[in-house]
C-alpha cells in the first residue's frame, strides 16, 4: 500500500478573519479501505473537516492531501472525483426531478458517456436496493430512500472515500437502519474508505477507528472499544453514551465484572449469559 488516502497536516481553519478558529492544528491520516468515525458535540468542527477534505473550504494554515494530491484550486476537481459526500438533509442534496436524473447529475458533471451512465445508474440503484424507484420524484420518497439515492449518486462516480456527514440524523429509526445496513453492506463488498460523521455514539461501533473532536481540536484517536472505557470524559465533552455501554458500566459499578466492553446488544447478551459460568 502506498501513502495514506487522506492526510491532515497541522490544519487550522476559521470562517473569517474576525471569527474564532473552528479547527486548531488538526493532524490525522486515514488509510485506504479504512472505516473511520468522527464524533464530537455540535459545532466541534466535524462538518468543517468534511468540507475541507473535498475543497469546499480551504484551510488558512496547514496542508491537506487526498489520494496523493494536495487539495488546492488546481486539483479540486480531481479531488472531488475521489471523495463522495452525503449530507445531512435528504431533501437539500437531491438535484434531479427523478431518482434516475439525480444519480445522473454527478455523472453528467463529469462528462461520462450516456451508455456508461445508464449502466452505472442501474448498478448503483441495485446496490442501494432502490431499483424499483427509478422514475420516482423525490417528494414520493421517504427520507431513508432519499439518502439511499444520495449514496447511489455518490457510488456512481466510483470514489475512493465516502463521507457521510450526519447522514442519518434527520431520519426516523427505520430510515436510519436502512442507511446503516446499506453502508455496512458496502463496507463488506467494496474496497473503499468510509468516514462516518456523527454525534451519536451508537453509530461508531462498526468503525475501525474513531476520531473524537472537541471544540476544534482533535481530542482523541482510538478504537471504539477503547473509547467506551472513557465514558466520564466523553460525557464531559458533551456526548451521549449509548445504553449498552452505560448499562455495562453500571454493572461494573455494582461488582459485575464483564470480560470486555460490550459494543452492542448481542455482545452484552453474550457477556451476561456466560457471566455466571465464569464465576
Amino acid at each position: 500500500m502506498s501513502g495514506p488516502l487522506i492526510e491532515f497536516q497541522n490544519v487550522s481553519f476559521r470562517y473569517g478573519e474576525d471569527q474564532p478558529w473552528v479547527l486548531k492544528n488538526v493532524n490525522f491520516t486515514i488509510g485506504e479501505g479504512e472505516s473511520i468515525a468522527i464524533i464530537g458535540h455540535n459545532g466541534s468542527g466535524k462538518s468543517t473537516i468534511a468540507k475541507l477534505i473535498n475543497g469546499l473550504l480551504s484551510p488558512q494554515a496547514g496542508k491537506i492531501f487526498v489520494d496523493g494530491m494536495r487539495v488546492n484550486e488546481k486539483n479540486i476537481w480531481a479531488v472531488r472525483k475521489s471523495v463522495g459526500m452525503v449530507f445531512q438533509n435528504p431533501d437539500n442534496q437531491f438535484v434531479g426531478t427523478t431518482v434516475r436524473d439525480d444519480i445522473a447529475f454527478g455523472l453528467e458533471n463529469r462528462g461520462i458517456p450516456r451508455e456508461e451512465m445508464i449502466r452505472r445508474i442501474e448498478e448503483c440503484l441495485t446496490v442501494v436496493n432502490m431499483s424499483d424507484y427509478v422514475q420516482h420524484e423525490p417528494h414520493r420518497l421517504s427520507g431513508g430512500q432519499k439518502q439511499r439515492v444520495a449514496i447511489a449518486g455518490v457510488l456512481a462516480i466510483l470514489p475512493k472515500v465516502i463521507i457521510l456527514d450526519e447522514a442519518t440524523s434527520m431520519l426516523d429509526p427505520k430510515g436510519r437502519s436502512e442507511i446503516v445496513d446499506t453502508v455496512s453492506a458496502l463496507k463488506n463488498n467494496r474496497h473503499m474508505s468510509f468516514i462516518t460523521i456523527t454525534h451519536d455514539l451508537n453509530e461508531i461501533i462498526h468503525a475501525d477507528r474513531v476520531i473524537v473532536m472537541n471544540d476544534g481540536e482533535l481530542w482523541l484517536e482510538a478504537t471504539p472499544r477503547q473509547l467506551f472505557t472513557k465514558k466520564d470524559e466523553l460525557v464531559q465533552i458533551g456526548l451521549n453514551i449509548p445504553f449498552v455501554a452505560r448499562l455495562a458500566e453500571e454493572l461494573t459499578r455494582v461488582g459485575v465484572e464483564l470480560e470486555k466492553h460490550p459494543l452492542n446488544h448481542e455482545e452484552l447478551l453474550e457477556e451476561l449469559w456466560t457471566y455466571h459460568s465464569k464465576m
Partner: protein
Amino acid sequence: MNNTLIIGQYVPGNSLVHRLDPRTKIVIIFFFVFFIFFANSPASYGLLTLFAITSALTTKIKLPYILKGLKPVWFLIVFTFFLHLFVTKEGEVLLHIFTYPIYSDAVSQGTAISLRFFLLIMVTSLLTLTTTPIEITDAIESLLHPLKRINFPVHELALMMSISLRFIPTLIQETEKISKAQASRGVDFKTGSIKDRMQAIVPLLVPLFVSAFKRAEDLAMAMEARGYQGGEGRTKLRQLRVEKRDILAYVLFVCVLIGLFFTRS
C-alpha cells in the same frame, strides 16, 4: 405525505402526441399561434379548428377533460364575444335586443376573435397536457441552444427551471406543514378581514423564506461536491431525438398552413 401532487397539468399517456419530441410540439404550437392571426375566412377558421380538434383527439385525453381545463378562460372567451357584439357598429343591423342594434360584423368579428382565443388556449394547453415539465425544459434548452453564441446562459436557465420543478412540491409540502404548525399556535388563516388574513400570512412566509435560503445554500454546496462546474463538458442523460413521427407531424402541419393560404379570402 401528499403522493398525488402533480406539477402542471400533465396527463400521463402513450399517444402519438405524447411521444412526439417536445421540441416538435413547441415549434408547431408556436407557428400555429402565429398563423391563427392570418385566418380571415370561415373556411380558414374551420381548417385551423379541425387541426386543433384532431390534435386534441389524437392525445386520447377525453375532450370534456381538456375543455374543463380551459375553465378559467371560458369567461374571457365569452366576454370577448359579447364585447365585440355590442361595441362593433359596422355592417347591416341584424336584429335589435331591446332596441339595441346588433350588427352583422359584430357577430362575425366577435366569433372570430373568440375562436382565435379559444384555439390559442386549447392548443397551448395540449402541450402541457401531454408533455412533462422536465421535457419542456429540455426542449427549451435545446431550442435556445444557438443563443449560447451571444453568451445567453441557456444551460443555467434550463438548470434553474429543472431545480425549480424539483423543489416546487417540496416547498408546497413545507408550506402545508408550517401553516398547520402556525394554526396550532393560534394563527388564523381562514377568517377575519382581508387585512387580518394578510397579516396571518407573515408567520407563514418568514419561516418558509428562511428555510428556502437554507435549502439553496445546502443545494449549492451539494452540487459543487458532486462535481458541478457549469455547462462546459457536461454530458446529458435525457436526450431528445427527432423520429419519423416528428417529421410526419411537421409535414402535416405544413399542409395545414398551405391549406390556410388557399382558404384565406
